[in-house]
């Protein structure tokens, strides 16, 4: 008797992605699709794609979707969620999109407590445009626009998004996870489930920051990029839950 134990999530189109070998986007897409399938929300879920490598996420995830301008996904998600409070709205954003050009939009969506879920992919570099410095590029990291390596004196410090947003009362679930090794991937999926649950329970804003590898723009083979996340990113970007619904005080209307 044959039993199917592993298959492609139904919320994913049966095609291969355009992502480079070793890229983390494919894993994160899959986690997203698995969570959509497991909650059975395919017909209620709406995605907002960013500008960046993952602008084409709508080619892979099968649900109603918008494509946003650079950084503006949280505002679009706000508009959609306000019209259809029963839909489950997520944005999928990279570090340039969310932590640089879109800082105003993400901070205020969180501050308003918009009932949306944000998948924030931090790979410390602008991927689609060819490896420029990101707001999350770590100290010492060389990119095409920080060719001598990022220094605090010249380029300033990288932004820790999860910690920053966790200070806002409207943010209910904030976590940072990674996807470079199986044990991290399992934890990442748990966090993503919690984030969607936070939205489905109507509690407020939720965000999961995924540390992700970009071997192409880091200039190293995929295997090395996995170690680079472990050795270089984890010390600056600690994993964990920074805000959970349990810790949140219910909002009181004046």
């Amino acid at each position: 008797m044959l039993k199917k134990v592993f298959g492609r999530p139904e919320s994913m189109f049966p095609i291969t992605t355009h992502y480079c070998p070793g890229c983390g986007h494919g894993i994160i897409h899959r986690l997203l699709a698995e969570v959509i399938d497991e909650f059975g929300i395919h017909e209620k879920v709406v995605g907002v794609a960013p500008v960046g490598c993952s602008v084409l996420i709508y080619n892979y995830i099968n649900c109603d979707m918008y494509e946003a301008a650079h950084g503006r996904a949280p505002a679009i998600a706000t508009g959609c969620k306000r019209v259809h409070p029963d839909l489950i709205v997520f944005t999928y954003q990279g570090d340039g999109d969310l932590a640089s050009i879109g800082t105003a939009e993400i901070i205020h969506a969180a501050a308003r407590g918009e009932k949306i879920t944000v998948l924030f992919v931090n790979n410390a570099v602008y991927g689609m445009t060819g490896g420029q410095m990101a707001p999350t590029t770590i100290i010492g990291q060389k990119t095409t626009t920080s060719p001598y390596g990022r220094t605090p004196k010249r380029e300033g410090y990288p932004v820790r998004v999860a910690e920053m947003l966790a200070t806002l009362d409207g943010a209910v679930y904030i976590a940072r996870v990674a996807v470079h090794k199986p044990k991290y991937i399992i934890a990442a999926k748990k966090a993503l489930r919690k984030a969607f649950e936070t939205q489905m329970r109507g509690l407020g804003f939720s965000l999961v920051e995924f540390l992700s590898q970009c071997p192409t723009n880091w200039g190293m083979p995929p295997q090395e990029s996995v170690e680079w996340v472990e050795r270089k990113m984890l010390p600056y970007y600690p994993l964990g839950e920074f805000k959970t619904p349990e810790a949140k005080q219910p909002l009181k209307d004046a």
């Binding site: 709508y58 649900c63 109603d64 301008a69 508009g79 019209v83 839909l87 939009e105």
Partner: protein
């Protein structure tokens, strides 16, 4: 006749939107249009709608993008510098073919400029404004009553063409009070919003996007948009001809400037000068044909604007060299007086040096 109420232009614009079925408003404070978001913040909860004060004009226009994409009737308003900030989003909305209404209560520029009335955003409104090859339908009210009527029309036009519609008012229209009737309108037959984001229940998923990496696909998209703009030009031109039948000289003006020109025309006629007014109500599509026709009968057309000559260029295109075109503009927030328009028109008719 319905009941007339005395109301400011900004509040009237907001109420007209509510009565046209607008239930979502996203805005950001900027003078001289603050009464619109203020009014919306009070009215929306009363009618089961939603008002959000966004963190910026940029965020506001993308909330409009989201709500319009979700199938709602939605509006935002701002004034010149704020409209510049919205221009990125307006380009995306035009590209994604989403219906919405954008109100610009114009003030003087460039930069921060001033807070007094102006018409200096004509180019921005009618010639693109944001990047890419797109057009807005642009409606220019010249009274508060007309602002109300045009805002109501704007929502239907936006839905009909799946296109953003701009109501281009100025600080005078926004802030003066006039008696207004909110007319009950018969429901329009409009195309279904089967493209809207509502969750892919029992249908293939919907996708709202503006990216076309394949040049053949993008050209196809651009041609589709262009054909739509040509349809608007065919069907939606609105223009008022005022005392033009026997006119020997024509004044061309829109918005606040046009109503001042009407006073000037009455004075000119008392003085024996047969002046008339051609007043574009749609700035895009522009009433080129009205100017082409009038240029066959009159020698002189005086364009009056609260800027240094923007609609002037469209009048020239319409007239196509068949009449002499003159220009009188005040700017910086200064409004031309009817005396100045009378004086300028007399000099033109009498062939006096200006």
């Amino acid at each position: 006749m319905g009941e007339k109420v005395l109301i400011s232009g900004n509040e009237a614009i907001a109420e007209a939107a509510i009565q046209a079925g607008c239930r979502f408003f996203f805005g950001y404070p900027i003078t001289p249009q603050n009464k619109i978001p203020e009014y919306m913040s009070e009215r929306m909860p009363q009618v089961g709608g939603c008002f959000v004060q966004a963190e910026s004009e940029i965020a506001a226009i993308y909330m409009v993008f989201g709500a319009a994409g979700a199938g709602a009737r939605v509006m935002t308003s701002s004034s010149s510098p704020g409209i510049s900030l919205k221009m990125e989003g307006i380009s995306y909305i035009a590209g994604a073919e989403l219906p919405c209404v954008i109100v610009n209560v114009m003030r003087g520029g460039p930069g921060l400029g001033g807070i007094l009335p102006s018409q200096s955003d004509y180019f921005q409104a009618t010639k693109g404004g944001g990047h890419g090859d797109y057009r807005l339908l642009v409606l220019a009210p010249s009274t508060v009553q007309e602002a109300v009527d045009l805002v109501m029309d704007a929502f239907d036009l936006a839905d009909k063409y799946r296109n953003p519609v701009m109501v281009l008012a100025d600080g005078y229209i926004g802030q003066m009070m006039e008696p207004v009737e909110f007319k009950k309108r018969p429901p329009q037959e409009l195309p279904p919003k089967d493209w809207a984001i509502m969750g892919a229940k029992g249908r293939p998923r919907n996708l709202i996007k503006t990216l076309y990496l394949d040049p053949v696909e993008l050209e196809k998209h651009n041609l589709k948009l262009h054909n739509k703009y040509m349809e608007m030009a065919k069907n939606e031109v609105r223009v008022e001809n005022y005392m033009t039948d026997d006119a020997e000289v024509i004044i061309a003006a829109y918005g606040t400037t046009a109503r001042i020109a009407k006073t000037a025309i009455k004075i000119l006629r008392e003085k024996g000068i047969r002046a008339g007014l051609v007043r574009p109500i749609t700035l895009f599509p522009f009433p080129y044909a009205a100017f082409r026709k009038i240029a066959e009968r009159v020698d002189d057309i005086l364009v009056v604007e609260m800027n240094m000559g923007q609609m002037l260029e469209d009048v020239k295109i319409g007239v196509c060299g068949k009449a002499k075109i003159h220009f009188y503009g005040r700017t910086g927030g200064i409004v031309p007086s009817y005396d100045e328009i009378v004086d300028r028109t007399e000099k033109i008719v009498k062939r006096e040096a200006i």
